[in-house]
Assembly symmetry: C2
């Protein structure tokens, strides 16, 4: 590989001069600059990003933590983060499948720091160390885990889901909720309960340990074993809803006749279930893009603290009346 | 941040000595080593990976290219690659959504090289430059694009899909196939045609431009507009199959009564459609793990050329008789 040293030798200038040409810093005579650039062209010189990163303290690397890549919702977030960062000259260093394991999150942060990332985007977690680079958290409703954070209005999402079932005539609702130490699970449950407690409905709680497909198919039959007379389910997310609908089919239950069901995320899963799934929409592409833009603003020194709360809305399909 | 220089000063040794302690190279007295290590512990020293990468020519970074993160099939591959590499002390630098854009692939390779990755794992593409590091390609059936490559037996997959429909009594089959410059699309079509040409079936071809969800919902209605009397579809993948089933529902067609359909990939999509989708299984977790292990073997100097061809099998569910 051609190095800066080789270029300096070929151009008969010092290494420092080549550096100044590369980095557009300091004084370089026009003729010298032209000669150095011509030689770099001739030998097809690619500046080594690692060497530049030491010199400039700028690696152009961003660490990104995605909790579950098998969920298309997070796939869409990761995709739009990477798109936006690539458009701005940054590369992504990825860590995935942290799920809710706080040790995995913090281990990923250590790895990122060792690789000189310039900033980090992650789903919400509790950071154990001090960071000297900006950290943008998404899914970070109601937390103070970073001054730069995004969330959806989960409380409102919970309200919309409950209201959709009640409006469809449900009287006995099972709320499938995530772990309550997750701020957004908590907020969604609070929202649903606020609506249900002002209604004539009975309701029951069913906790799921996380939001991936394997958990969904493992836990779906248990909900049907535990509860029998329900006529509505608020599902943990679209994947859980799809798994519950698969069990309903096995048990010859008809949707929405025997029970109505509402998903969460409005990922493409909600369009391919049969019947198509009513779901609360958070826009994953918007979340990913906003997270990237917030980090870029922080890297440019334009912001040090900002919370973005996205609205949610109900997308009505055919699993509710 | 504490540097090697700071440690050297605190321990009253040279920078070279600290390097030798860190890298377990050269001679260092036991007492000196103990003193240096104690000081590193006391100041909570984290060796800078970038500095080590220059020193050791070993970044512990692997570049990974995933063509479409919104497809759970690739999400599962990415997940198992990252798992296996992390277990072996490597981090992943990710590039996504290259789809079939050869320029994007080659741009990603340039980015990886600039960041001193030690190796690359990618879905199949034609490399435009010489690489001095190992490259493992998956989805690389019938190509010679890298000496290290994985594929599934796509020809056999095409045969299994066609045979499933014929065994179920189909007489008029639409084959939805990917671009024929993709080796695995070509091989699958060849396999299906080999079976169909020895049968009494009529068949028609319907090309799709790629395998993501947006394309699937855009192109599904066109298949129904173009062909009317078919009683079987070999779908491009599970996502295309799900989109076709959604259109069938809108058009009041019943599956498998009005037509049978076979998917491809056996991702979790095939379990949540209604009825559940018969699909040709390639195991994405196995593919990801094998790709990582092959790269690790190459990095350890244990192999320079190896092709792994995975078997496929038909998973029969309820969209075929």
């Amino acid at each position: 590989m051609t190095t800066v040293k080789d270029i300096a030798k070929l151009a008969n200038v010092s290494v420092a001069t080549v550096s100044r040409v590369l980095n557009h810093t300091g004084r370089v005579g026009a003729e010298t600059r032209a000669r150095v650039e011509q030689i770099m062209d001739e030998v097809n010189f690619v500046p080594n990003q690692v060497a530049r990163s030491l010199y400039q303290k700028k690696s152009n690397l961003i660490g990104v933590i995605i909790p579950d890549l098998e969920n298309p919702f997070y796939g869409q977030i990761a995709t739009s983060i990477e798109d936006e960062l690539a458009n701005n000259g940054y590369q992504v260093m990825l860590s995935v499948n942290t799920h809710d394991d706080i040790n995995k999150y913090n281990q990923s942060i250590t790895n990122f720091i060792q690789n000189n990332v310039n900033g980090i985007i992650s789903s919400n977690f509790v950071l154990r160390t001090n960071l000297e680079i900006p950290l943008v958290l998404f899914d970070a409703e109601g937390t103070n885990n970073s001054p730069l954070r995004l969330s959806s209005n989960s409380r409102q999402g919970g309200k919309l889901a409950a209201k959709a079932l009640i409006d469809g005539g449900a009287k006995n609702i099972v709320i499938q909720h995530g772990p309550l130490d997750l701020a957004n699970s908590h907020a969604r449950l609070d929202g649903a309960l606020e609506v249900l407690e002002h209604s004539q409905c009975q309701y029951h709680l069913f906790e799921v340990t996380d939001f991936n497909y394997q958990t969904a198919i493992d836990q779906a039959p248990k909900l049907f074993d535990q509860y029998h007379d329900f006529d509505g389910i608020i599902a943990g997310n679209d994947i859980h809803a799809a798994a519950l609908m698969a069990v309903a089919r096995q048990r010859k239950l008809s949707i929405p006749k025997d029970f109505q069901i509402v998903g969460y995320d409005n990922s493409f899963i909600s369009e391919i279930t049969n019947p198509p799934l009513t779901s609360v929409s958070q826009s994953p592409s918007t979340i990913g893009k906003q997270a990237a833009l917030l980090l870029l603003a922080a890297l440019a020194g334009k912001t040090t603290a900002k919370e973005i709360i996205n609205p949610v809305k109900l997308i009505k399909r055919s699993t509710t009346y």
